[in-house]
Symmetry: C2
Subunit: 397 residues, 2 copies
């Protein structure tokens, strides 16, 4: 039964809404909520890393010192001291006036699309790319083009071929979702030059950049050409996701338009949350807190790599070894399909996300994403063994 034909109602859907389908990942995550399932599916930070005590103190202080102001409507740009902190923590010269606080960095994607995308506009993305970005851009009805990419990121020759009339390139250079890959300094320098030569604006998304294991990643693309880039950041992975605090750094020429789109979308990001986060982060809190997250996630990545090496022997599974972030990318043997594997894996008690939904165009149906941060090391060992068992069962079919 098609919704827009329901006889009892006269609702007529926008054409974009007629094309909306339930999120594939969302449906999978429902399965993984069953008790007993070990999930490598979700992109959930480890709750062990949430600074609960610091939030307790900060909430109490914000409400005690300035409770009425903290609960009132606030400026659409964001809370001044938080905008200053954001500007100060970034590795290039940022004026706090360029910082727009967003309701998670997901909202930044919605605002970018509203300001830069007409129906049918070409926008370029990596292959594969963040599914949530594809979903956020979709209401503005762009033509999304996947640029060929390798283990080191974008293929610059394909980028040149695809760039004509593109409104922007959307790119996650650090510990990318879904692949975990990171662009080298050489690739960044070349991409930055190529984009400038092509007149191609860049939307740089960096939710995972702080989660490096052995060495910080090279400087952001935006630091190389601030006027040609919009930069998106997030506090979800270094503080807590539930606050829904992200930010954009935008060139002065774009900022007023993004601000108007922000105001129309939700007036402002919760002011209480912004004040609490600023209170938590004062006195260099992140400099003490983030190393513990890095260390935990590195040990969990190591556990997953060790489990994969141990359990996948003889199965022709390929995987990478990310230098940071939350995700590892794997590829099934020829002839297998990750979407077909999923129910078999769930039957064995483990879940993952098939790679296909992350592709703007032709999907690699053998690919899959494994998160190594939510499960414990013991769960990682048991879950990878279960995954290996499901691949063996699939191979016997």
């Amino acid at each position: 039964m098609k919704l827009n034909e329901l006889p009892q109602t006269n609702w007529r859907l926008a054409s974009r809404a007629q094309r909306m389908n339930p999120s594939f990942i969302r449906e999978i995550l429902k399965v993984t909520e069953r008790p007993g399932i070990i999930s490598f599916a979700g992109g959930l930070p480890s709750p062990k890393t949430f600074p609960v005590a610091a939030f307790q103190e900060a909430c109490a202080k914000v409400l005690r010192d300035d409770g009425q102001a903290a609960l009132q409507y606030a400026a659409s740009e964001g809370y001044g001291p938080l905008r200053e902190m954001v500007a100060a923590m970034l590795p290039w010269q940022v004026d706090p006036a360029q910082v727009l606080i967003t309701t998670g960095s997901q909202q930044g994607l919605d605002l970018v699309a509203k300001v830069l995308v007409d129906a049918g506009s070409r926008i370029l993305v990596e292959t594969p790319t963040y599914l949530g970005a594809l979903q956020a851009f979709a209401p503005m009805e762009p033509e999304v083009i996947g640029v060929a990419s390798d283990a080191g990121g974008l293929d610059l020759d394909d980028l040149s071929r695809q760039a004509t009339d593109a409104r922007f390139l959307y790119v996650l250079p650090n510990f990318q979702n879904p692949t975990g890959r990171t662009m080298s300094e050489d690739r960044r320098a070349a991409l930055s030059q190529r984009a400038a030569a092509l007149g191609l604006p860049i939307v740089e998304d960096n939710p995972y950049g702080e989660l490096w294991f052995d060495a910080a990643p090279p400087p952001p693309l935006t630091s190389r050409n601030p006027e040609g880039c919009v930069y998106l950041g997030s506090f979800s992975k270094v503080l807590a996701p539930s606050l829904r605090l992200g930010f954009m750094v935008a060139p002065a020429a774009l900022y007023p338009k993004l601000l108007q789109a922000k105001q129309a979308a939700d007036l402002h990001t919760p002011g209480f949350n912004q004040r609490v986060a600023a209170e938590v982060m004062k006195e260099s809190f992140l400099a003490r807190h983030v190393p513990a997250i890095r260390s935990l996630y590195k040990s969990q990545r190591d556990a997953m790599l060790a489990a994969l090496a141990r359990e996948m022997q003889g199965l022709s599974l390929e995987w990478n070894a990310p230098d940071g972030g939350m995700f590892l990318w794997a590829r099934l043997p020829q002839g297998m399909d990750a979407i077909e594997l999923l129910p078999k894996a769930v039957a064995q008690g483990v879940a993952f996300v098939p790679g296909a939904p992350f592709y703007a165009q032709q999907a690699d149906s053998r690919s899959l994403r494994l998160s190594f941060v939510t499960a414990t090391v013991e769960q990682i060992d048991a879950g990878i063994a279960a995954l290996a068992a499901s691949i063996r069962a699939y191979a016997r079919e």
Copy 2:
């Protein structure tokens, strides 16, 4: 200098963004932030009504009892217990599964437009209507039609004339922003029947409904035809705006599409805020808290009506006497323009919002909106005297 012609950048704006202009009200509010200005301009609830102590307790309890879960990613639909509270507080039979928690009710307007509006779609609004709705709908590029309205709300004959092919009617039946007017039971019954006969869906916005002074307003339009209406509500006026907590109640046929648009917009509304609000509101908190807000705002409305009667003698200013909410609507003598009056009023130390931006089409340039809730009674007395002085000065020109 037009942004999209800046030589240094290659940003090409979406056509909707080229049409965006700085919010008129936003610019005015900047003026009113000057020290010493008495502002009747903003729609800011009185901070005296914010239950700071209840928030202190609730934040502490939520973080103490279940801190890690409260800080983790959460469901896009919203926090289950809060959705149940919303369903239970509404005066018709609502299944919690129909409730979608939004990042303020402003976000509900963004989601409605994404799901129901194609470029060029006709949507109907009151004359005048909430400026923020016009801004939220604008990115989807509708044709917005103002339906003729009188002091009692919509003119149903004009509604019938305008309804052909309209996607929906957007209406605020209670203590409307900007006029403060309320639709009678008779008008609601007739509107509900007329809309059903026309096959016209309704988007009903009710942020102020709880703020009645002497008697509760008649039941919502949605309660008369839940399948033909989307209902938007807010906690900004009964708890605190800074949390950015609103909600939608949507027919089962629309809910999945609104949910997907919600997920793409910001993944979910801050889970911590939802848990804190649910904790504050348990044990019938609002039943004890809201009467105090009503009583305060009623006394402030009375103060403003008394000051107007006293100060505006002989000035031919017209104004109404709202039965609730936050705003009063006034009309300058013939030949005067509220936008021209504004700088003269600011020079006298008082600010208001001219009515013109609230009109979808032909504006009544004599109209203006006065908020009676943010200023104190003493400020209301002084501010209305200053406003009268500015009108006198304008009349002498």
